[in-house]
């Protein structure tokens, strides 16, 4: 356990156990740098490793309350242990003195704990207000929508929509506006702070404001942070994870720019800033490891070109999915723009590799029971969503679509 955790691999390792050994080794070798970079922490969802102001407030309070409770526990346990040892019945014990109470003592152990409670309550209430202060104007707003079972992130100021991997610039305040499209979810990325429920927002009468929940924080360290839905939302609740990529301003603007240029071929990287960004961007697909990220790999890749055609013209993919700059404008499923740049698929449940993606497109339920996406040869019929027929893609087409999607980076 300890060994595997140091390499940071175990979860994904099991995911690919079914692959041939050689392939598996290859995939692992490819994933290693990524995971070393993103999940260097031993506990990637630790609640005691704060990386935002919000998380720090909580952690400070937790630490102080923790020591108070340890103190109380020590008092109770020591008193109890003393009593149990000292006053156990012995041969020839006389009847103990029949003491019925003591006003001073009662007062003492009412007032004493009351003081401790006050000592805890005051910073708590300060914390309550500090963690729910009004949204500041300079914060970047992201509209988070919880769906069964994935996350949608929309940046209204940038016109960017993405899914399951939230990109945030470091050291800049961010306000997450939370709403759900179906059932209650809860947004929880422990290292970035506490959770807040993502409620379906009740419709209100014309002219009134619907009530959204907000999360407000400023991340102060770059990295990839793991989180997941923390309110039971149905069959695939366990598979509703997400990642938050906190990156430098340049990396973030670059990401936005790439998103906005969408599917259209982008220029070869000439500016220096961009090529730096390229290097820090993890390479995911073995075939493309050597290619600069922003080149449209598929221009020289007939498979990806074929996949583009399948995706846009020969399949039902576009009914649900959107890719910026193409005719695909579906809004039911995750927006797939820059899909190839994501580190994970299926809402943070598997590494974004060719093999996993092929499996996902072919048979999403094998990776994620309850997912609303139809498979190649089975219909989708899940509660709360319109039924949808099987995609009917053949093996060749699936491979092509996978290549296309991974080329979107």
């Amino acid at each position: 356990m300890a060994l595997t955790s140091r390499t940071g691999l175990p979860g994904r390792v099991r995911a690919i156990l079914s692959l041939p050994i050689r392939l598996r080794a290859g995939v692992m070798a490819l994933l290693l740098p990524l995971l070393m970079a993103g999940c260097a922490e031993e506990y990637p969802q630790s609640t005691i490793n704060p990386k935002t102001d919000f998380a720090e407030i909580i952690h400070a309070l937790y630490t102080s309350v923790f020591w108070w409770t340890m103190f109380i526990l020590a008092v109770v346990w020591i008193a109890l242990a003393y009593v149990l040892v000292k006053f156990r019945a012995r041969e020839g014990d006389a009847t103990p003195r029949q003491i019925r109470g003591h006003v001073g003592l009662e007062l003492g152990w009412t007032v004493g704990p009351a003081m401790i409670v006050i000592a805890i309550t005051i910073p708590t209430i300060q914390g309550v207000f500090a963690t729910q202060r009004p949204v500041s104007d300079d914060a970047m707003v992201v509209e988070v929508t919880g769906h069964r079972f994935w996350w949608e992130f929309h940046y209204p100021e940038l016109g960017v929509t993405t899914a399951n991997e939230l990109h945030l610039p470091v050291d800049r305040p961010v306000s997450l506006r939370l709403g759900a499209s179906d059932v209650i979810h809860s947004f929880w990325v422990p290292m970035l702070g506490g959770k807040r429920d993502v409620n379906p927002v009740p419709v209100v009468r014309e002219g009134r404001n619907p009530k959204y929940n907000w999360l407000y924080f400023t991340p102060f360290e770059t990295g990839i942070y793991m989180g997941q839905c923390a309110e039971f939302c149905g069959e695939a609740h366990a598979f509703m994870a997400m990642r938050v990529v906190v990156e430098s301003d340049e990396e973030f603007s670059d990401w936005v720019e790439r998103w906005q240029s969408g599917d259209a071929p982008a220029p070869l990287p000439v500016e220096e800033g961009v090529s730096e960004a390229v290097e820090s961007e993890p390479a995911l697909n073995g075939d493309e490891v050597t290619e600069p990220i922003r080149t449209q790999a598929r221009a020289g890749d007939p498979l990806a070109m074929e996949g583009r055609d399948v995706f846009l013209n020969q399949s039902t993919c576009v009914a649900c999915h959107a890719i910026n700059g193409t005719s695909a404008q579906g809004v039911i499923g995750p927006n797939l723009t820059l899909f190839g740049a994501r580190t994970s698929l299926g809402a943070g449940i598997r590494e974004n590799s060719t093999e996993n993606l092929i499996q996902w497109i072919t048979d999403p339920h094998s990776l994620k029971p309850g997912a609303a996406m139809p498979g190649v040869n089975y219909n989708m019929a899940v509660p709360g969503a319109a039924p949808w027929p099987a995609t009917g893609l053949n093996e060749e087409q699936v491979r092509a679509v996978a290549a296309y999607l991974l080329s979107l980076r």
């Binding site: 356990m1 595997t4 955790s5 940071g8 175990p10 979860g11 994904r12 999940c39 031993e42 506990y43 990637p44 969802q45 630790s46 609640t47 937790y62 309350v65 923790f66 409770t69 526990l73 109770v76 346990w77 109890l80 009593v83 006053f87 019945a89 009847t95 103990p96 003195r97 003491i99 019925r100 109470g101 009662e106 409670v117 805890i120 708590t124 309550v128 207000f129 729910q132 179906d182 059932v183 809860s186 422990p190 506490g194 807040r196 429920d197 379906p200 927002v201 009740p202 419709v203 209100v204 009468r205 929940n213 793991m226 923390a230 039971f232 069959e235 609740h237 366990a238 029971p369 709360g384």
Partner: protein, 612 residues
């Protein structure tokens, strides 16, 4: 303070005038028999819920395990929670209310014996009804809190949630009737001289719990009515697309749900407040304070429900109010713990199994209480809410608190019920396997939660690095399971072959120990006069009481008639409620007819033998 156990030559006199055989149990209205049925049924459901827990633990043994499907897992954890709370912890406490309270206050039965039988049968049928859902592969699967909108007919189209809301409303009737019954019994039927402030703590806590029942159950009942109407008739109470607010469900559920927590824990507090003095040979330290603390806990328990909802987004002002209210509850709870320790201080402690469980409760419950303080601090719970940290917390409170207390009660009152001791050797095995099992199961969960493992997930990523904590928990769960088997074996063995116990084998101070073990079916040949809080610990008072209680009744006391209407009414209520699932007005209305018929037959049946 010599044990009166020596003076009990008539201790094993068989109760005369009492029928035996299956029919007599089905028609019984005797609170002692109903208690036994409650206990056995709750123990059966404890095994069911326990097997569910073990399956859950096997599934979580390894990350990304596929021992059971997510759907099955969701059914299992939903039924585990629902079963353990509504079919185990509550009814097991009611078993003790039933057996002990009338004996402690010097009554011959509860105020409404037939209603009491009705409560039991409704509980049994409601529990069976809900579990029958497994046969159809449609067990409830939306968690025991059933948050809207997951429970709506859109997102839970099957009958799973129907079984849940119908089952719970059936069980609610049983609890409500029980609450009314015990309040009336305790207010009205105490022996002469048994003032309120002379009542044993267990009776006091039953009293407080009963108030919580009659006030909390109606709230969940309304919530379930709303849910049922939403599902069956298309109302929009919790439908956000029509302006309904899913958070309303959470308010209603927790306005019930938090008092429910005290419904679970207060009986256990009551048990150990009786057990600890007995085995310390000292009266309870600060009796009035402990009573008031219990009342206060019950009372404040009504103003803290939103501490289950700190992540919901109620705003800082509401959150602060509920932080303060919740923190205040820590004070009376702490006071109780200190009073128990003070009771033992200077005493002569005998570590019987009952005492071990009581002391174990004080030690282990404190851990749960303290993690509760962490959760009362709202910002902290933003991290811990719906994580395994919370799972650890409430299992410490419910298993380490409520269940430990009830098992203390089991070992304490078993001799009174059967006239035989439970084996102390097996009892100690039971205690130590429980202690090891529960701590090994639930303590590592704190870490799993702290490292980001959410609850209610059927599997977890290996990357979270929480596998080791889950493995420890799984091992602990099996040890805990073993402890349950030891307990059951002990009960089966000792009920027939246990060492004989006298009227007052523990040298306890309260009235239930003044009568033979097992008691006559009419409990007290004549009702004694009570003069103090520990009537059997005052030599002169004891003499007077035993002279009355250990003799034979001069004339057979008039006891209520047995009746088969309780079981029939319970069956018809279950049927009527079950028909709601059809969603058809006329079928539902038709289902009400047998209920009406049974109510009428019940009303016209004389409760007592003719001529009285």
């Amino acid at each position: 303070m010599s044990s009166v156990g020596l003076e009990t030559h008539t201790a094993h006199a068989t109760s005369h005038g009492e029928e035996t055989g299956l029919w007599s149990w089905i028609t019984t209205v005797d609170h002692k028999r109903i208690a036994v049925m409650y206990f056995l049924t709750a123990t059966f459901f404890f095994l069911v819920g326990g097997v569910e827990a073990l399956l859950i633990r096997i599934q979580l043994l390894r990350p990304e395990n596929s021992f059971i499907t997510p759907e099955m897992y969701n059914q299992l954890f939903t039924m585990h929670g629902t079963t353990m709370i509504f079919l185990v912890a509550m009814p097991m406490a009611v078993a003790f209310f039933n057996f002990v309270v009338p004996l402690q206050i010097g009554a011959r039965d509860v105020a409404f014996p037939r209603l009491n039988a009705l409560s039991y049968w409704i509980f049994l049928f409601g529990g069976l009804y809900m579990n029958a859902s497994f046969i159809f592969g449609a067990a409830p699967n939306a968690s025991w809190t059933g948050y809207a909108t997951l429970t709506s007919s859109t997102y839970s189209p099957g009958h799973n949630v129907d079984f849940w809301f119908i089952g719970l409303s059936i069980l609610g009737i049983a609890s409500l009737a029980g609450g009314v019954n015990f309040i009336t019994t305790i207010v009205n039927m105490r022996a002469p001289g048994m003032k309120m402030m002379r009542m044993p703590l267990f009776t006091w806590m039953t009293f407080v719990t009963s108030f919580l029942l009659i006030t909390a159950i109606p709230v969940i009942a309304v919530a379930l009515v709303f849910l049922g109407f939403d599902r069956v008739f298309g109302t929009v109470f919790f439908d956000p697309t029509m302006g309904g607010d899913p958070v309303l469900w959470q308010h209603l559920f927790w306005i019930f749900g938090h008092p429910e927590v005290y419904i679970l824990i207060l009986p256990a507090f009551g048990v150990i407040s009786d057990v600890i003095p007995t085995f310390s040979k000292k009266p309870l330290f600060g009796y009035p304070i402990v009573v008031y603390a219990g009342i206060l806990i019950g009372f404040i328990g009504w103003g803290v429900w939103s501490h289950h909802m700190f992540t919901v987004g109620l705003g800082p002002i509401a959150d602060s109010f509920f932080v303060a209210a919740t923190m205040i509850i820590a004070i009376p709870t702490g006071v109780k713990i200190f009073n128990w320790i003070a009771t033992m201080w200077g005493g002569s402690l005998r570590f019987t199994t009952a005492m071990l469980f009581s002391v174990g409760l004080v030690a282990v419950f404190t851990v749960g209480g303290l993690s509760g303080i962490m959760h009362a601090a709202a910002p902290i719970v933003l991290q811990q809410h719906d994580s395994y940290f919370v799972v650890a917390h409430f299992h410490y409170v419910i298993v380490g608190g409520a269940m430990m207390g009830l098992w203390a009660g089991l070992y304490y009152w078993f001799p009174k019920v059967t006239g035989r001791f439970l084996s102390e050797t097996l009892g100690k095995w039971h205690f130590w396997t429980t202690m090891v099992g529960l701590n090994l199961t639930f303590f590592p969960m704190h870490f799993a939660g702290m490292f980001g493992m959410p609850r209610r997930i059927y599997t977890y990523s290996a990357e979270l690095n929480v596998e080791i904590y889950n493995q420890l928990s799984t091992v602990g769960a099996f040890i805990f399971g073993l402890s349950a088997l030891i307990m059951i074996y002990n009960i089966m063995k000792s009920a027939r072959g246990g060492e004989r116990a006298g009227a007052n084998p523990w040298g306890a101070p309260h009235l239930e120990w003044s009568i033979p073990s097992p008691p006559h079916h009419y409990n007290f040949p004549e009702v004694p006069l009570v003069k103090s809080r520990e009537p059997l610990w005052n030599a002169s008072e004891r003499e007077e009481i035993l002279a009355v209680t250990m003799g034979e009744a001069k004339e057979e006391p008039v006891m209520p008639n047995p009746s088969y209407w309780p079981i029939l009414l319970a069956a018809s209520i279950t049927l009527a409620w079950g028909l709601v699932m059809t969603g058809t007005w006329w079928i539902i209305a038709l289902g009400a007819l047998p209920v009406l018929f049974c109510v009428l037959m019940w009303a016209f049946e004389p409760a007592f033998p003719e001529g009285h």
